[in-house]
């Protein structure tokens, strides 16, 4: 019990340090701010969006940026780009974050089990992971969602499957390295149950690194998801989603190049911000620095 309290207090100090380091990292804070702002706008979409995301008009189609009433122009069905981009962000974010979140839960669990239990169970988990590792991620995502067909659910499923193996690997290696640490060994020696050891000693130490790794995958997920939509394997119309918007606006790239590039720009910006925040988080959590 005493060791547990000691650990908590040490963890407390550690997180204070992380927070302090984060506060000093202006770039990370700025990116986090951009993401937060996007999130707020997207949540408040029904109140802030100037038009309906579905209401179009043939006379107003493909208007340029700065068209009166439509600051970012209109799309191929005459729908307001600002509105579509805001609503599109909702889906793009969902598609970017939820596969990583699910994969974090599943892959993290499996990886910790594999790393902690070892033996045949760990072996089995890791060998199955190896199979998925023989595919490059883009290939795997396209193959799975190509097989399952278009749709948000299938896209999330495909991406989740793509992200589970790498998360398992990270979780396994982090857990293995923690498992052999002295205090875990001593807890083991003092007869603590496996569950208690995992909960008290392993989890607090492995979740951080796995989490940071997972945040890094969000931008990958977002780009892959939009790529799927781009191939026609992601979301279904009329739901706005950045990748899908990019796909349908693609043919307008010669008439309204700037409008057609907007969804790509949104993906790019969001992805950069997620990457920056992830990097900032990692270096803040890195005790060495």
């Amino acid at each position: 019990m005493a060791t547990a309290t000691l650990k908590t207090s040490r963890a407390q100090g550690y997180w204070d340090g992380v927070l302090k380091r984060l506060k000093r990292d202006k770039l990370t804070l700025f990116c986090a701010g951009v993401l937060l702002l996007m999130l707020i706008v997207m949540i408040a979409a029904p109140y802030v969006a100037p038009h309906s995301p579905y209401q179009g008009s043939m006379i107003r189609r493909l208007k340029p940026i700065g068209f009166p009433g439509y600051p970012l122009g209109t799309d191929e069905l005459g729908r307001d780009m600002v509105t579509r981009l805001i609503y599109g962000g909702r889906l793009s974010w969902t598609l970017g974050i939820s596969p990583v979140a699910i994969a974090f839960a599943i892959g993290g669990t499996l990886g910790i089990i594999a790393g902690f239990a070892g033996g045949w169970l760990g072996m089995l988990i890791m060998r199955v992971t190896d199979v998925f590792y023989a595919f490059p991620s883009v290939l795997l995502a396209v193959a799975i969602s190509g097989a399952l067909g278009a749709g948000i659910f299938n896209a999330v499923l495909a991406l989740t499957l793509v992200f589970i193996p790498p998360i398992i690997r990270v979780a396994e290696s982090v857990t293995t390295s923690v498992r052999v640490l002295d205090y875990v060994e001593s807890a083991r020696a003092s007869g603590a149950g496996a569950f208690t050891i995992v909960r008290v000693h392993v989890l607090p130490n492995v979740l951080g690194p796995i989490f940071v790794y997972a945040t890094n995958l969000i931008s990958v997920s977002m780009i892959l998801a939009s790529g799927l939509s781009f191939l026609g394997l992601g979301t279904k119309p009329p739901e706005p989603e950045w990748g899908l918007m990019l796909n349908t606006l693609r043919t307008a790239i010669y008439n309204q190049p700037l409008v057609a590039m907007l969804p790509g720009l949104c993906i790019f910006t969001t992805s950069i911000c997620f990457n920056m925040v992830s990097d900032g988080l990692r270096s803040a959590m890195d005790v060495k620095s």
């Binding site: 179009g56 067909g149 026609g232 394997l233 279904k236 119309p237 009329p238 043919t251 790239i253 008439n255």
Partner: protein, 529 residues
């Protein structure tokens, strides 16, 4: 060393090519259609790797842009229905026709190819080509050689429109099969020989195919003007457009509508032409509790969509469809319903069928993000969704599946779980002649056995078709055709949306191209400056 040599030869070719007239065409197919004489990739495959190289006994008459393409004699100089047996047709073959490999075309060649398509026990049986041909000529029952230049072909039942089915079996030189060691897969890599105005001179799998003018073509008035045609598969519309604009090709199939304006201003020609193509929604009439089982609902929906708006979305590359045939077609007939946007009428019909503001009509449509002949399915369907909602308060949701899956769905039975409850599927289709009509709409062809996806059954239609099949008098045939079509309009199995206008974009160097009212074109007539 080999590479160097190759580069040297290539640059040599490039030099000599300046004197030659080489037309480079970007197709929409994802792959080069098969080259053995009966191409895959649907009618686009037939358009580019079928008719220019291989020919049928009967051919499409593609000389006029003003009327729906009819038939003309091909490898058969003439044909007639056997007076004694209306199920048998006698074809008199053309003399003096040579395949590209120099061998003669004769009745033996016809029999060889018939066996190739229809007899699965023959050494030359080619399953894919056979399947395609059997699907397009389902009435064909048997064939026999009468003499070296006469063959008899029988049908399962008398059908006045049978010659329309004989445009599809194409003829490949039997010698080319022998030369390739009796293996069609090897024929593909080049001894393939047809009788058409072009021969295949080079084939790079999945990349390109090159056609060369055939100097020994039998039809001296139909000789090719071009020296070479290079066909490139480019499924992405933007890739095609960029390829045209950067001068990599001279001609692209189906430029994206939103790119037309910029192509025009960049100095490219846009050609459009009416042809027998419908972009519809198929109604799932046979499903349990189908809301579209009620004919009033189907009519109502035909009054609720803004076809003109859709045409403007497509930048004029389509025309409104108010029936299976175009309104200008002599066989259109005089149906009671004249579909146009009429929300009041649509709402009234819906109300009669029990769908009101309190209980709006709601259903699901299965669509695909792309597909051959599908035009711009996503924005078009989104537009229809909006239009139905605005005009008649109809709620449509989409089940988006990939094109191959959608094609498969068209053969499911109405209550199949694979349809995911869809009451509508969006598959574009040809509407060229009665033979196609019979394949799509007779109750004998209910899915899964045939292509009557809707399980649409109309007694008047069936009896008119029976009369037409056994008729020989052209005026009777025409009257019955009109009758058939009237039924298709008044008791609509489909939501008629638009007819494609088959847009093409080409450089100004390309001359002499007319857009015939057909899925096919006559490449031999095309020339270049």
């Amino acid at each position: 060393m080999r590479k160097l040599l190759l580069a040297a030869t290539l640059s040599l070719v490039a030099v000599t090519a300046q004197a030659e007239k080489v037309l480079r065409i970007a197709m929409t197919a994802a792959d080069v259609p098969t080259t053995t004489g009966l191409p895959n990739n649907g009618f686009e495959g037939m358009r580019f790797l079928g008719y220019p190289i291989f020919e049928g006994l009967v051919l499409w008459d593609l000389s006029s842009a003003d009327k729906l393409a009819g038939l003309r004699p091909g490898l058969a100089e003439s044909w007639e229905q056997d007076k004694a047996d209306p199920k048998t047709w006698i074809f008199h073959l053309r003399h003096g026709v040579k395949f590209h490999d120099g061998t003669d075309f004769n009745a033996d060649a016809v029999m060889f190819n018939m066996e190739r398509f229809f007899n699965k026990d023959s050494p030359q049986f080619e399953p894919a080509a056979g399947g395609i041909t059997r699907a397009r000529a389902p009435l064909l029952a048997s064939y026999k050689k009468i003499d070296d230049f006469t063959v008899a072909i029988s049908t399962t039942r008398p059908a006045s429109y049978f010659p329309f089915m004989m445009v599809y079996p194409l003829f490949t030189s039997p010698a080319s099969f022998e030369a390739a060691g009796k293996d069609w897969a090897k024929v593909a890599l080049l001894p393939a020989a047809g009788t058409g105005p072009f021969k295949i001179s080079k084939f790079v799998p999945r990349v390109s195919v090159e056609l060369e003018k055939f100097d020994g073509y039998w039809n001296k008035s139909g000789m090719a003007h071009l020296d070479k045609v290079v066909l490139l598969p480019m499924p992405e519309a933007n890739t095609r457009m960029a390829a045209l604009r950067s001068g990599q090709v001279d001609w692209i199939e189906v430029p994206p509508p939103d790119g037309l304006e910029s192509l025009k201003s960049a100095g490219f020609k846009i050609t459009t032409g009416s042809y027998p193509h419908v972009w519809p929604w198929f109604f799932n009439i046979g499903a349990t509790n189908s809301p579209v089982a009620d004919v009033r609902v189907r009519q109502a929906l035909n009054y609720c969509i803004d076809r003109e708006g859709l045409v403007s979305l497509l930048a004029g590359t389509a025309e409104p469809s108010v029936g299976w045939l175009k309104a200008s077609d002599p066989n259109f007939g005089h149906p009671a319903n004249h579909y146009k946007l009429d929300p009041a009428k649509g709402k009234a019909l819906l109300a009669e069928a029990g769908f009101t503001a309190a209980k709006p009509l709601t259903f699901k449509a299965m669509i695909s993000p792309s597909g051959s002949g599908q035009m711009l399915p996503m924005p078009m369907n989104e537009f229809l969704q909006q239009s139905l909602k605005e005009n008649c308060n109809v709620d449509v949701s989409f089940e988006v599946v990939e094109w191959n899956t959608l094609l498969g769905a068209a053969r499911y039975v109405p209550d199949s779980p694979n349809l995911k409850g869809s009451m509508v599927i969006n598959v574009s289709s040809p509407s060229s002649d009665v033979s196609v009509m019979s394949r799509y709409f007779t109750s004998a062809n209910f899915s899964p056995a045939g292509f009557n996806f809707e399980h649409w059954k109309d007694d008047e239609f069936e009896s008119a078709l029976a009369k037409l099949e056994s008729a020989t008098d052209p005026t009777e045939i025409s009257a019955m055709t009109q009758k058939l079509h009237e039924r298709l309009v008044d008791n609509p199995p489909w939501l008629y949306i638009v007819h494609d206008l088959n847009p093409r974009a080409m450089s100004t160097k390309v001359t002499n191209f007319v857009s015939p009212q057909s899925w096919f074109i006559d490449l031999a007539r095309v020339d270049m400056k």
